[in-house]
C-alpha cells in the first residue's frame, strides 16, 4: 500500500470516528443504532434535528477552511497564510456584526439575514481586494495580494472595532459570533453553505496540478505551461467562496485553516493532488471533534468552538512539528 492510499484510509477512518463521536456524545447519549432503529423517537429527533446538522455543519465549515487554507498557503507560497489572509473573512464579519448591531432583519430571509449579509460582505470584499490588487499590479504578484489583504483586513477590522465600541452593554452576542460557533444552526444553514462548499472545492481541486507548479514560483509555473494569471484568479475566487460562506454560517473560527494544511503536509507531503482532499477531510474531523469538546467539556455551558480549535490545535501542531523536524535532523 503506498503512502497516499494510507493517508486516505487514515483520514476517512478518523473522520468516521469523529462523526460517530459527534452524533452520539452529548447531554443525552445517542447510540449509533438510532440510524437504522427509529423506535426511540426522542433519540431519533435529537439525532436528526440537532446532532446531525451540527456535526455536518462543523464538518463542512472545517473542511472549507482547511482546503482554502491549503490552497492559499500553496498559492502565496507562504506557510503563514490562512483563509483569512485575503481579508474576505473580515468582510463577512462586518456584514454579520452590522446585522447584529443595527438589528437588521430582511423580509423573506428573516432569521437568515445575518448569514446572507455576511456572505454579501464577503463577496464585496473579495471583489474589492482582487480589484485593488489588479489595479496596483496587473500581474497580481503574491506580495501584492498579501499586502492588499492586510490593508483591507485592517480597515474592515477598524469598522468592526468601531461597532463593538459603540455597542455598549450587549457585547455578548457580537463577541460570541466573532469567536465562532456551529450550535443551533439547523439544516437550513447546511443547505445554504453546501453549494458554495461544493463549487469552491471543485474550483480548487481543478487547480491541484497548477498549485504544485506554482510552489516553484510563478515564473517556473509559467514555463511549465501554467496560465498563471487565470489559475491564480480561479484559486483566489475558489478559496474566497469557501472562506466567505464558512465565516457567514459560523463566525471566524481560527486555527483550522492554518494548522490543518500544515499537519496534513507534514504527515503526507505537499503534493496538492492529495493535500487538498486530505486537508478537506482532516479539517472536517478537527472541527467536529473541537465542537464536541466545546459543547461537552463544561456542560451544560457551551464554549465557542474557536476557543477549542486553538486550545487543541496549537499543542497538537507543536507536537507534530517537533517530531517532524527532529526526524528530519536525524
Amino acid at each position: 500500500m503506498n503512502k497516499a492510499t494510507l493517508a486516505y484510509l487514515v483520514s476517512i477512518a478518523t473522520l468516521l470516528v469523529a462523526v460517530w463521536l459527534g452524533v452520539s456524545i452529548g447531554t443525552v447519549k445517542i447510540p449509533i443504532s438510532t440510524f437504522w432503529d427509529s423506535t426511540d423517537t426522542t433519540a431519533t429527533n435529537i439525532l436528526y434535528k440537532i446532532r446531525m446538522p451540527r456535526v455536518i455543519l462543523a464538518g463542512l465549515v472545517g473542511a472549507s477552511l482547511a482546503i482554502a487554507g491549503a490552497a492559499f498557503q500553496g498559492l502565496l507560497k507562504n506557510p503563514l497564510a490562512d483563509p483569512y489572509t485575503l481579508g474576505v473573512s473580515s468582510g463577512a464579519s462586518v456584514g454579520a456584526v452590522m446585522t447584529l448591531f443595527f438589528g437588521i432583519s430582511l423580509p423573506i430571509v428573516g432569521t437568515y439575514t445575518l448569514p446572507v449579509f455576511s456572505m454579501a460582505g464577503a463577496a464585496l470584499t473579495m471583489f474589492l481586494v482582487i480589484g485593488f490588487a489588479r489595479l496596483v499590479d496587473r500581474s497580481m504578484k503574491m506580495e501584492t495580494i498579501i499586502l492588499t489583504g492586510i490593508i483591507f483586513g485592517s480597515f474592515l477590522g477598524s469598522i468592526l472595532s468601531l461597532m463593538i465600541a459603540l455597542t455598549g452593554e450587549e457585547l455578548r452576542q457580537i463577541i460570541g459570533w466573532l469567536l465562532g460557533s456551529v450550535s443551533m444552526r439547523g439544516w437550513n444553514y447546511i443547505y445554504m453553505i453546501l453549494p458554495f462548499v461544493i463549487i469552491g472545492s471543485i474550483i480548487l481541486w481543478l487547480n491541484r496540478m497548477e498549485l504544485n507548479a506554482m510552489l516553484f514560483g510563478e515564473e517556473r509555473a509559467h514555463h511549465l505551461g501554467v496560465n498563471v494569471k487565470r489559475r491564480k484568479f480561479m484559486i483566489l475566487i475558489g478559496g474566497s467562496i469557501l472562506t466567505g460562506s464558512a465565516v457567514a454560517v459560523s463566525g471566524t473560527i481560527g486555527f483550522v485553516g492554518l494548522v490543518v494544511p500544515h499537519m496534513t503536509r507534514l504527515m503526507w507531503g505537499s503534493d496538492h493532488r492529495h493535500l487538498l482532499t486530505l486537508s478537506f477531510m482532516n479539517g472536517a474531523t478537527l472541527l467536529i471533534i473541537c465542537d464536541l469538546i466545546a459543547r461537552t467539556i463544561i456542560s451544560p455551558t457551551e464554549l465557542p468552538v474557536g476557543v477549542i480549535t486553538a486550545f487543541i490545535g496549537a499543542p497538537v501542531f507543536a507536537f507534530i512539528f517537533y517530531r517532524q523536524r527532529r526526524k528530519g535532523a536525524l
Partner: protein, 489 residues
C-alpha cells in the same frame, strides 16, 4: 526553428533590449553573452514570454509565439531557471513529473505511460534516479539543479532556454550539467539557447555566440569570430588575451590584470649558467616563458629552472620521465618549475656565451655530440636506433617575445645549427652526406618577457641576427671540443 525579429522590450516603459533579431537552427546551441545589465536575461525572458515585448515578433516553427496557448508553448519551449529556493517540499520524482504538465489534459489529467517513460528517462539521463523519492530540499545545490534539468527534459520540448544554468555550481557540476545538456541537444536534435556569464564556458559549449552590449547585439557568430580580444575588450571594458583551447577548436580568453608598477626586472646573465660534471643548469629569479622539446615539461610554459643533464650512453631506464623526475627532485629542482633535457655528451664541454644587442642580450648554451649525425633529407627509408639527444641548444633572451618570435627563434636556431654541422663537415655515417643534425636534438627558447618588445626573430631582425650568430658560434665550438675529446683531430 526559432526566429526573433526586431524585438524591443523590458520591464518598464524604457526598453532594455532594442531591435534584436536573430534565428537559431534546429539542434543548434546558441549562447547569449554580455556584461551585467546588457539585457541578456531580459532578452531570454521576452523570448520565453515572461516579459512583454513592445514590438517585434518571436516565431517558433514558423508561427508567431503569441498564437500558442500557455500549454502549447510549454510543449514547444522548456526553460531551465537559475537555482532558487522553495517554501514547501516535493520529492524529486514529483518535481520532475511536473514537467509533464503541458502534456496532460482533461479533468483528471491522467498520467499516461508516455508521461511515466518521459519522467523515468529524464531521471536516468540526469543521473538522479536513485534520489527519486528524496525531498529536493535535502539535496545539494548541484543535485537540485539536476532535478530542474530533468524537469525541463521531461517536458520534451524541441527548444530549451537556459538562464545562467550553472550559477552557484562548482566546476565539476558545471561541467556535468553542460555536458548533459549538450549531449541531449546532439542526441535529440534539441535547440538550445542559453545565457552565460562565463565567456569561456559559452565558447566551449556553444555552436554560435550572441554578444549583447547595452541592449543591442554587438556581434553574433562562431565563437572564433566573437571571442576576439578587441571585441571583448570594448564590450566588457576589460583587458583580455585570447588563446586556443588546448584540445578543442574553441577560443578561450584570460584576463590580463593591471601590471604592477615597473620595477627593475632581473635579467639572466652568462654567469647564471652553472656547469658541473653532471649537468648544465640555470636558476632564474623570475619565471621565463619557455618553448622546448625537453624531456621534463616540454611544450610551452613558464619555468624558473633549466637543466641539461649528462647521462651515460647506455642509459636506458624503463620509464625515462619518472627517472628524470627523480633525478631533478634529488637535486632540489622543483618539478613543476623546471625544464629538463638530457645528453650523452660530457656537460663540461658545454659552450655558453652571451651576445649583446641594442634591445638586450641573448645567452646561448650548446652541448654537442655528433656520434649519430643524420642527414634529414636522406632519412626517410633508413631505420636507425633511438639514442639520447646529442645536440642540445638553449636560447635565452632578455626581451619580450611575441608568439611568432618564439617560433622564428626556433627556426633561426635550427638553421644555424645545421650550418655549423656543414662548416664542421659532419657526415651522416649511413649515407656519407653532410648531416643536418643528430637523431634526437633538443631545443629550448626562453625569454624573460620584460624589456623591449621583440615581435620577430627571423634572420634579418636584430634578435634573429644574434640567435643565428650565437647558435652557429657555440655549436661550432662545441663540435670542435667534442672532436678534440674524441681525438678526431
Amino acid at each position: 526553428m526559432l526566429h526573433v525579429n526586431g524585438i524591443t522590450g523590458g520591464y518598464g516603459k524604457e526598453p532594455i533590449v532594442n531591435n534584436i533579431s536573430f534565428h537559431v537552427n534546429k539542434g543548434e546551441v546558441l549562447g547569449i553573452l554580455g556584461p551585467n545589465g546588457s539585457g541578456k536575461s531580459t532578452l531570454l525572458k521576452i523570448v520565453s514570454g515572461i516579459l512583454p515585448k513592445q514590438s517585434g515578433t518571436v516565431q517558433i516553427d514558423g508561427q508567431d509565439s503569441g498564437v500558442y496557448s500557455q500549454k502549447e508553448f510549454a510543449r514547444k519551449v522548456a526553460v531551465l531557471p537559475q537555482l532558487h529556493a522553495h517554501a514547501f517540499s516535493h520529492t524529486v520524482k514529483d518535481t520532475v513529473a511536473l514537467g509533464r504538465y503541458p502534456h496532460q489534459s482533461g479533468l483528471f489529467s491522467t498520467w499516461s505511460k508516455e508521461d511515466e517513460r518521459a519522467v523515468n528517462e529524464a531521471l536516468a539521463y540526469t543521473g538522479i534516479t536513485r534520489y527519486k523519492d528524496t525531498a529536493i530540499e535535502l539535496l545539494s545545490g548541484g543535485e537540485q539543479q539536476r532535478v530542474f534539468v530533468a524537469q525541463a527534459l521531461a517536458q520534451e520540448a524541441p527548444i530549451l532556454l537556459l538562464d545562467e544554468p550553472t550559477n552557484h555550481l562548482d566546476i565539476a557540476h558545471q561541467q556535468q550539467l553542460l555536458d548533459t545538456i549538450r549531449n541531449h541537444a546532439v542526441e535529440k536534435g534539441v535547440t538550445v539557447i542559453s545565457v552565460f556569464h562565463d565567456v569561456n564556458l559559452a565558447s566551449l559549449y556553444c555552436d554560435r555566440l550572441l554578444l549583447m552590449d547595452r541592449g543591442q547585439i554587438a556581434i553574433i557568430g562562431d565563437p572564433q569570430d566573437v571571442i576576439q580580444e578587441a571585441i571583448i575588450a570594448s564590450v566588457y571594458n576589460a583587458r583580455v588575451k585570447t588563446q586556443p583551447h588546448p584540445e578543442l577548436p574553441k577560443p578561450q580568453m584570460t584576463l590580463l590584470p593591471d601590471t604592477m608598477e615597473e620595477t627593475e626586472q632581473p635579467v639572466v646573465r652568462k654567469k647564471d649558467i652553472v656547469i658541473s660534471s653532471d649537468n648544465v643548469s640555470l636558476r632564474a629569479i623570475n619565471p621565463l616563458k619557455t618553448v622546448s622539446s625537453a624531456v621534463h615539461n616540454p611544450g610551452t610554459g613558464w619555468y624558473r629552472s633549466f637543466v641539461n643533464r649528462h647521462v651515460d650512453v647506455d642509459y636506458n631506464p624503463s620509464d625515462v620521465k619518472a627517472e628524470m623526475a627523480e633525478y631533478l627532485q634529488q637535486r632540489d629542482f622543483h618539478l613543476s618549475d623546471t625544464v629538463g633535457m638530457m645528453t650523452a655528451v660530457t656537460t663540461e664541454h658545454a659552450e655558453v656565451e652571451e651576445y649583446r644587442g641594442d634591445f638586450g642580450s641573448v645567452i646561448i648554451m650548446v652541448t654537442a655530440g655528433v656520434g649519430n649525425a643524420v642527414d634529414v633529407s636522406q632519412s626517410l627509408h633508413r631505420d636507425r636506433p633511438e639514442r639520447i639527444g646529442t645536440i642540445n641548444t638553449w636560447v635565452i633572451v632578455n626581451g619580450h617575445l611575441s608568439d611568432e618570435a618564439f617560433i622564428q627563434a626556433m627556426i633561426t636556431a635550427t638553421e644555424a645549427k645545421t650550418k655549423a654541422m656543414h662548416t664542421e663537415n659532419i657526415e651522416d655515417p649511413l649515407t656519407g652526406t653532410i648531416a643536418t643534425g643528430t637523431s634526437t636534438d633538443s631545443l629550448l627558447v626562453a625569454a624573460t618577457q620584460t624589456g623591449e618588445q621583440l615581435p620577430y626573430a627571423g634572420p634579418i631582425t636584430p634578435l634573429g641576427k644574434l640567435i643565428g650568430h650565437g647558435v652557429y658560434d657555440c655549436t661550432v665550438r662545441a663540435i670542435t671540443a667534442y672532436k678534440k675529446a674524441k681525438g678526431w683531430t
